[in-house]
């Protein structure tokens, strides 16, 4: 098993309550997995001369000011940052390339969880209840979030093996299911230059999406290609800067349900994770069809609107 939840707010008046709406959804999915828990939350966007990095270290007393000082020196500009449990969010000048190379050479123990203008990925070993409290998820604000509760099957229970997995700028992926061709696919993707941190099958799905998008494919095209190249069972949810996308394999053993009202689009492995949302009794509810890609987001052209892409 494993549980997935996603919440995308169409009504901007609710953005201050994103965490308060989202945390109960995550906690309801504890029965589907409590080995580790993670979220990607989007909001508090930086301007495009900056990049937002979420960094994590296993030592709760880690010397973060030293890292920030090195980053400030490296990019030659002040870094706005804050700490949340074992992680920090740092807003760094530039596109992040210099910052990441500095981190990997001077602070190899620091994990870069996410990079982008909007995304923050926070994850750790522990139940949804524990992780929600640790990172104070109910207090968070933002435009949208996706979350994952893990019941480990294919690889060890570690923070690195927790979801979401970053798949590029402002992108991340969570997975419910198991992939049967992940070893061969990982070997292939490594040859293409994709770097993997774990033996986790879901990280291979994330690496695959990253590789396809590096080839110039759109997210939707990458997910359609995944239907042929990922062998196994999966419901995948991909967080993007302005929304999220959902796809289920063609056999569709792994569950997913979607709900939409005037205020939000929500997704979960099971309806009970949606039951606490306001107005859910009158929401439009449906299960995503097998082998079809669904995506929501707001675009510069359309303002906030729903895009339902049935491309398969």
């Amino acid at each position: 098993m494993c549980g997935i939840v996603g919440l995308y707010l169409k009504n901007s008046a609710l953005q201050g309550k994103l965490g308060a709406l989202f945390a109960p959804m995550l906690i309801e999915m504890a029965d589907r997995g409590r080995d580790s828990t993670g979220i990607a939350i989007y909001g508090d966007e930086v301007d495009d001369s900056h990049v937002k990095l979420t960094l994590q270290h296993e030592d709760i007393n880690f010397d973060w000011p030293a890292v920030v000082a090195a980053l400030e020196k490296g990019v030659g500009a002040p870094v706005d940052w804050f700490q949340n449990a074992g992680a920090i969010v740092a807003k760094v000048k530039g596109d992040g390339t210099a910052a990441r190379s500095l981190l990997s050479s001077e602070f190899p123990d620091v994990a870069v969880r996410s990079i982008g203008l909007s995304i923050e990925i926070l994850k750790d070993i522990g139940s949804p209840e524990a992780i929600s409290e640790k990172f104070n998820i109910p207090g968070m604000k933002g435009t949208h979030a996706i979350g994952h509760t893990r019941m480990a099957t294919e690889s060890a229970v570690t923070t690195d093996g927790s979801h979401p997995f970053s798949t590029g700028y402002d992108l991340c992926l969570v997975h419910n299911g198991s992939l049967s061709n992940h070893n061969r696919l990982r070997a292939y993707l490594k040859k293409q230059g994709i770097v993997f941190e774990t033996m986790n099958d879901s990280e291979v799905a994330a690496g695959y999406v990253m590789w396809r998008m590096q080839q110039g494919k759109s997210l939707e095209e990458a997910l359609i290609a995944a239907l042929d190249d990922l062998d196994g069972f999966y419901t995948l949810t991909v967080g993007t800067r302005d929304g999220f996308a959902v796809v289920r394999d063609r056999i569709a053993c792994k569950p997913a349900i979607l709900a939409e009202t005037d205020d939000y689009v929500a997704m979960a492995s099971e309806y009970r994770a949606l039951a606490s949302l306001p107005g859910i009794k009158n929401a439009r509810l449906w299960e995503p069809e097998p082998g079809e890609v669904y995506a929501w987001g707001h675009t510069a052209h359309e303002g906030i609107s729903r895009q339902e892409l049935e491309l398969a």
Binding site: I251, A252, C253, P255, I257, E270, Y271, R272, A273, L274, A275, K281, L285, W286, E287, P290
Partner: protein, 227 residues
């Protein structure tokens, strides 16, 4: 007349109360509110009572039902009425995958759509779906009847034994060993009785019948090379 609010009492308490009802009990009308997508609601009921559930339910709702008349005013999750023995289960909304799985008897009515694997390994249940069914409906069905007033997805009746399938709309594809069969008067009669029992106002003549070609029943020595 009993009412249970699942926000106030646990699912175990509710199911125990349902199990404690015996044949001839006075309390034959039970209402369950605020199901909130919980699993295992009204499982294993074995007396001729009426249970109304007001809202959406999770997995295995009305599983193993015997004799009871269970109605869900909402959508149901995976495996509604799985392994039902007798009685009636009516879903006012949509059903998730594996509705009526392995069920031996009774009538399951789904007024919306059913997702993948509806009636998987059905062993005698009657299933009537007002909407459409997803892929692999009636997979390995052994006996019983399935009526679909809408469309059927890929691989309808794959590896079917003796269940009889009636579909009004389009069938995306037939599964291995499933074929269209002639609709004879006895089938029209059977279908009409099923539609009447489910309360569906449909013309039996608009349906087509599908069943097993019976080519996968026994091992054929000619197929040895495939192993």
């Amino acid at each position: 007349m009993s009412e249970y609010d699942l926000q106030k009492v646990s699912i175990r308490e509710v199911n125990q109360a349902l199990h404690d009802l015996t044949d001839g009990a006075n309390d034959t009308e039970i209402t369950i509110s605020n199901p909130g997508g919980m699993h295992n609601i009204a499982c294993g009921v074995d007396s001729p009572v009426s249970v109304k559930i007001d809202g959406h339910t999770g997995y295995y709702c009305a599983g193993m039902n015997k004799l009871a008349n269970i109605e869900v005013n909402g959508n149901v999750g995976t495996g509604v009425a799985e392994n039902m023995m007798s009685g009636t289960v009516r879903v006012r909304g949509n059903a998730s995958q594996s509705a009526g799985a392995t069920a031996h008897g009774g009538l399951l009515v789904i007024e919306g759509d059913a997702a993948a694997r509806c009636g998987i390994s059905m062993k005698g249940i009657d299933i009537v779906v007002k909407g459409s069914v997803g892929h692999l409906a009636a997979f390995m069905g052994q006996s019983g009847r399935m009526v679909v007033c809408g469309d059927a997805g890929d691989a309808l009746g794959d590896s079917l034994y003796e269940a009889r399938l009636y579909v009004k709309g389009k069938v995306k594809s037939l599964g291995a060993d499933c074929i269209e069969k002639e609709m004879r008067p006895e089938h029209l009669e059977e279908l009409k009785a099923l539609l009447d029992a489910a309360g569906m106002d449909e013309d039996p003549k608009a349906f087509k019948r599908y069943g097993s070609a019976r080519q996968l029943y026994n091992f054929k020595v000619d197929n040895m090379s495939a192993y």
